[in-house]
Structures are given as C-alpha cells and as structure tokens.
C-alpha cells in the first residue's frame, strides 16, 4: 500500500488532535444518551408473570377491631413462638433461648436451651415447657432446668405445646399426632391420629406448624393446617368437630397450611395467625369470623419477603393472649412483638 500522507506537519497534527477530541466527545455524548435510554427502559420493564396478591393484602378498615398498644423487637432473632405466663410475663422462644419480657417489653430474664426451640408453653405456676425438635425441656419459673422428656418417636418434630392442670400436650408435626403427657412427663396417650372409630380425620401437616391448646370447654383444639381447620378433641382422642373454610377471603384460611398459630381469649373465642397473607383474626367460640386484629398491610416485611426473599417456610406470625384479653403478635420475620387491645 502506498503511504496515505506524505508529511505530518503541525497543522495536520492539530487537525488530527482536534478531530479525535471531537470524536471522543461524541462518544461520550453517545454513551451517556445510551445510558439515559437504558435507564428509562428499565423503569418501564414489567413482569408479565408476576404473582400478584396485592389486592388481598389490603384489609377493609371496617373489619379491624383492634389497635396497637406498644411494640418491641426481640433482642434475639429466629423467633418461633410466643406464650404469656402468669403476671402477663411475655415468653418468646428465639433460637437457643427463651426471652422473658414484662408486658411493657422490658427484658426480664433469659433461659438458655440446648438447641433451637419451636414451641413454648407456660403453666399457671410459671413452669416453662420448651419443645425442641425431638425433646421437651422443662424449667421452673426461675429458669432452672427441671427435666428433659425425650420425644416418643424418631420422626418427631415438636411444634406446639399446651399445659393444663395435670396434663401436657405436645403437637408433633413430624409424626402428625398430639402426644398426651402427665406433668411428670409420662406418656399417657395420643390424640388425633387418623382413626375411624374416633372419627378422627388425621392431621395434614405440609409444614411444621401443628399447634395445640386446651380450651375452657375442656376440649383440645388443634390447627389441622392442611385442612385449614381448627379441630376439637377430647383428651381421650375423640374427634368432636371442626371449623374453618378454605378461601382467600378474609373470613377463611388460604395457602397450603393455615392457620399456623392460634390462641384462646379468656372468654373462649379464638385468635388465629396466618402466613403467606400474614394476618391475625378473631373467630367466636363456634368458629364464625368476627373481626381482624391486624391485616397483611400491617406486616409489610412479612408479606413482601417472607424471611428474606427466599425463605417463606420460616415466615408468618404467632399469637398469644394475656389475662386481660390483650393480644400479643410475634412477627417471625422481623422478630417484633406487638401488643394489641380492642378499639375503644
């Protein structure tokens, strides 16, 4: 190839430099307008496949019958259940600990466990029962360990505890049964296994949230989460009835398994806690929907993101009730305790 230019004199050099400067400037303008274009494109991008439940996350304000008194955040995370003891002391099991608060949320005590607890119950004398995956740890009111009861089955995964005057019931999500113990930890019987003679339909437990409570009417209540119902049993295991219906509407339970938690008001009505659409509601003693304590919009982190963006199995809520009928909501995502009282 022949040389394209004969001599690079000063004028040519200046020419060259100015041209390349202009080119660079042009490149800069170009890339910035490209960035601006991509930025605006980003903002209009959509997801045609979004799973949109935002409509269901709004609650009719007329249905909300409670208001918040106070709230506090548990110093320990990985909270799982809440139970209210004598003197309205608030017990929260959080990872390897049980944290005890006074009703205002001031930390009062802490009990260390041998492992993470999934369930919790407090007797009227202050004895604390903590259900770990495969055993129950019993502490006196001062936090001294009194006993350890091994779970009766290899598959056990204890997720609910209820303590009465002479009985302790442990809900076992792994074995799908309620174990009946006496106060010394002796196994007395089993409740709720599929059994035609007792009319028991059997527990459907897709995720570890089976709970149990002793109602003032003398029957057990168990949340059969896979059937979206709360069921009643005698201590001997006789099925006595159930309530609850499957719907995303506010008066029912939705998702794979709800309600994941419940508690009993002093007058025998029910407080239920749900996951997926995190909400707390009141049902009367026969299971008719009454009102909402807090809807999904009250738990934005819980509703948006479960526990992190990927771990919804560990999201949701749990509830407890104190002697005055105030409701304590435990947010499993934010580790917050909210105290609610009826609206004046």
């Amino acid at each position: 190839m022949k040389p394209e230019f004969k001599l690079l004199d000063r004028r040519e050099f200046v020419n060259f430099v100015s041209r390349s400067a202009a080119l660079l400037g042009l490149a800069k303008v170009g890339s910035e307008s490209a960035t601006a274009a991509t930025t605006s494109a980003e903002q209009t991008s959509t997801n045609a496949f979004a799973y949109d439940v935002s409509r269901l996350q709004k609650t009719d304000p007329k249905l909300i019958a409670y208001e918040e008194v106070t709230r506090w955040r548990s110093p320990r995370t990985s909270v799982r259940q809440i139970a209210i003891g004598p003197g309205d002391q608030v017990h929260v099991c959080a990872g390897h600990y049980i944290s005890v608060f006074n009703p205002q949320g001031q930390p009062a005590a802490e009990v260390a466990l041998t492992g993470p607890a999934d369930s919790l119950a407090v007797a009227s004398d202050g004895t604390i029962y903590a259900g770990l995956r495969d055993h129950v740890e019993v502490f006196d009111a001062k936090g001294q360990r009194q006993a350890v009861w091994a779970a009766p089955d290899r598959k056990s995964w204890l997720t609910g505890l209820a303590v009465g005057k002479q009985d302790v019931f442990a809900a076992d999500s792994g074995k799908r049964v309620i174990w009946h113990f006496d106060l010394a930890g002796k196994l007395l019987g089993r409740v709720g296994e599929k059994n035609a003679s007792q009319n028991a339909p059997g527990f459907i437990v897709p995720s570890p949230f089976l709970q149990v409570a002793i109602h003032a009417d003398g029957l057990l209540r168990v949340n059969n989460i896979g059937r979206h119902q709360v069921e009643a049993y005698t201590f001997a295991g006789e099925f006595e009835g159930a309530w609850g219906r499957i719907t995303t509407a506010i008066d029912g339970f939705c998702g794979c398994c709800n309600p994941i938690g419940f508690a009993l008001l002093p007058d025998g009505r029910f407080v239920t806690a749900e996951k997926g659409l995190p909400r707390v509601k009141i049902y009367n003693h026969v299971g008719e929907f009454e009102s909402v304590v807090a809807g999904a919009e009250s738990f934005p982190e819980n509703a948006r993101a479960c526990n992190g963006l990927n771990d919804c199995a560990h999201g949701g809520l749990d509830v407890g009730v104190d002697g005055q009928g105030r409701i304590y909501i435990l947010d499993l995502v934010t580790s917050e305790v909210r105290v609610m009282k009826p609206r004046a």
Binding site: P206, S207, C254, G255
Partner: protein, 192 residues
C-alpha cells in the same frame, strides 16, 4: 503436517524473514506459556450454567430472556419437599373460583402443572416440561404460601450452553452461576 509450498522462496534469511521468525517463536512461546498456566488449573469437563434456587427471585426473566424460543429453564418439583396439598398455591390462582383443574383456576399460564389424585387429601403435582416456560409464577406461589418445593432449574438436555447465558446477565438475584459439568444441577436438598 504438509510440506512447505514448493516455490523459489528459499533465499538466505532476509531482515524481514528474521523478524518474522523471531515474532513467531515469541508468539509460540507466549501461547505455550498461556496454555501451560491454564492447564495447571484446567478442568476436563468444563462448566455449565445453573440457577441457585436459594437466590432465585422469580422475576419472570427466565421465560423471556433465554435465546431459545421456549426457555431451557423449567420449574422442577422436589417431591420430597412437597406437601401434596389439596390447595396447592403453586397450582391454583390466588383466588380460584373452585378447586378444580379448569384452566381459569390454574396459576400456570400454560397449564404445565399436572395435578393427579394420590389419596385423600393428597395430590401429586408434576411439571410437563414441554409446556413449562420457566416463568416462575408457580415457584412464587408455592414459596409464598407453601413449602417451596417448586424451583427453577436449567434443563441441560435443552440448554444450548451459551458461553454467556443471556438470562444470567439480566438476573436480578445474581442466581445464575457456572457449575461443574459433572454435577450440573443445584437441587433443593431432599428431606430425610
């Protein structure tokens, strides 16, 4: 290796020839050193792309950004983690009219989930991969209300193994990564 072309080029080495020879030797040495360095940490089988289910955000990009007409990303079912729920929120739309398999009750835009009765009250849910487009809608539905047994994976019998995965670069969760070709799936672990 074929012989040099027969030509009258066998002159005494000129300056240009010398330069060329030197440059070639240098290039060969460089190439040899490079491949040597790479070989010391080389792998035989190489890499494939995969989605880490723990990072997937179900944004829908897998359905729209794969270079294939129908994405190589599919929903898969970790049966051992499934609750076999009657009301499967991965199968049913958020507000179904009734719990039947009618298309308007289904969440999946392509009706790719097959629901079969097992025993009361359990149902099995499996994915028809010829219909699944990898949008992740069911994954979100299952994760949000259920056990999270549905998750997205690149199916390697369909994937073209692009050098740069077109979905990976738009993944908002940075969930795509190269994994060794010998263990090309990142399955949700199985309960025991």
């Amino acid at each position: 290796m074929p012989n040099p072309p027969k030509s009258g080029q066998v002159n005494p080495v000129s300056r240009r020839q010398f330069f060329r020879n030197g440059a070639r030797v240098a290039a060969m040495t460089g190439l040899g050193a490079l491949t040597g360095v790479l070989a010391t940490r080389g792998t035989a089988a190489g890499w494939v792309w995969q989605i880490d289910p723990a990072k997937c955000l179900r944004c829908g990009n897998c359905a729209t950004h794969c270079v294939l007409e129908q994405s190589a990303v599919k929903c898969v079912q970790a049966y051992a983690q499934c609750g076999y729920c009657q009301l499967c929120t991965g199968f049913f739309a958020p507000e179904p009219n009734e719990l039947t398999t009618a298309a308007e009750n289904q969440l999946c835009p392509t009706s790719a989930i097959q629901r079969t009765f097992v025993e009361d009250p359990y149902y099995q849910y499996s994915i028809d991969e010829n219909l699944c487009i990898g949008c992740g809608k069911c994954v979100e539905g299952c994760l949000r209300f259920g056990n999270g047994s549905f998750f997205l994976q690149i199916r390697h019998d369909r994937c073209l193994h692009c050098n740069e995965c077109a979905i990976a670069r738009v993944c908002p969760g940075e969930a795509f990564r190269r994994v060794p070709a010998q263990s090309p799936y990142l399955l949700k672990s199985v309960a025991k």
